[in-house]
Subunit: 199 residues, 2 copies
């Protein structure tokens, strides 16, 4: 919001305003990719193609109120650092595991937006035979890339940089297309990479 | 809600008692099985045998406060009905999915303690090739059973009862043993059921 110069006198702010209370909204937090992935996963589920869910946001619940005759209300809880990726499930008998990130920069993806725990987790499940990957959306271009987890974490482990250039994704990633009902059709990429002989 | 006509005079309740505020404690909520499973999964992770995690409790976050200089505090949230089971991951390249329940009764396991969503989910992942099962602990006997998901859901779909007798678990389940570091060693059962030739 712009404070126009005509707006000279600011109202006296009560102390209570120091704590900003906010309704959590998907659009505000730049969670369009999450929304698109949830819709794609619902589509896969309806078509009985794959069973893949987003894990709930991990929170530490400290206090719960039980108001008479209504559902339990959590009144104090904190966000936890996730120890795993956000999405996992099963496709064609294989264990699927991935993390999804939106990127606002036009030039590079900041590595710190993936927690070290999550990188370790991706390496772990890959070693155990999972189909593991990272979905990165460059918001400015509205382009979404599939990157095989090992390709990305190998780069992260060795590059010595704090970000991955956009050109790297163009070279090593796979552009994910979609439809209205399945906006991020990542199974198409998995089919090409892992099940080509079956098609 | 029905207002019975006899219910003329309501007792004066002190205001403070209307909302009961409670610290959430694992022991109070009978979550010893969860605790034991988390320890077993940590053990498997340390040994690099399997990568299996409990999913976070699903909550709908309504309000978040951002007190100055400290972590975001969730001040209003509600428990959601889970659409999947609590645990999943990968073992020997296979997708693992299970639900865990403590049972206080000595005679039978109430079917309603597993949500219909979760039963459907277990059937779904089984059809897609998962190793899916239910872990039931009879607290009174301190005995923990592994039951193959399809065996249990077949019974649930056809029995026409509201509970499963304890004797059924003795017949169709597999007793899970454990050690101090791995209190619920369910991978031992999976090895016997699915990987016997590899041992």
């Amino acid at each position: 919001m712009i404070n126009y110069p005509v707006h000279i006198k600011r109202p006296q702010q009560p102390v209570a305003n120091e704590k900003k209370s906010t309704k959590v909204s998907a659009a505000d937090r730049g969670m369009m990719l999450e929304h698109d992935l949830n819709r794609s996963n619902e589509w896969y589920l309806q078509q009985d193609r794959a069973i893949i869910y987003k894990k709930p946001t991990p929170v530490t619940i400290v206090k719960v109120d039980y108001p008479a005759r209504s559902a339990a209300k959590i009144t104090e809880a904190y966000f936890k650092v996730p120890s795993t990726t956000d999405y996992n499930g099963i496709y064609k008998g294989k264990y699927i595991d991935f993390e999804a990130k939106e990127c606002r920069s036009r030039t590079s993806f900041p590595i710190k937006s993936i927690h070290p725990h999550q990188i370790r987790h991706l390496d772990d499940v890959t070693r155990h035979g999972a189909i593991a990957f990272v979905v990165v959306r460059f918001v400015a271009y509205d382009l979404t890339y599939y990157v095989t987890s090992s390709v990305m974490t190998d780069y992260i482990h060795t590059c010595g940089r704090s970000s991955i250039p956009y050109a790297w994704f163009q070279e090593h990633g796979h552009r994910i297309s979609g439809t209205y009902l399945c906006p991020v059709d990542y199974l198409k990429i998995i089919d090409e990479l892992y099940f080509k002989e079956n098609k």
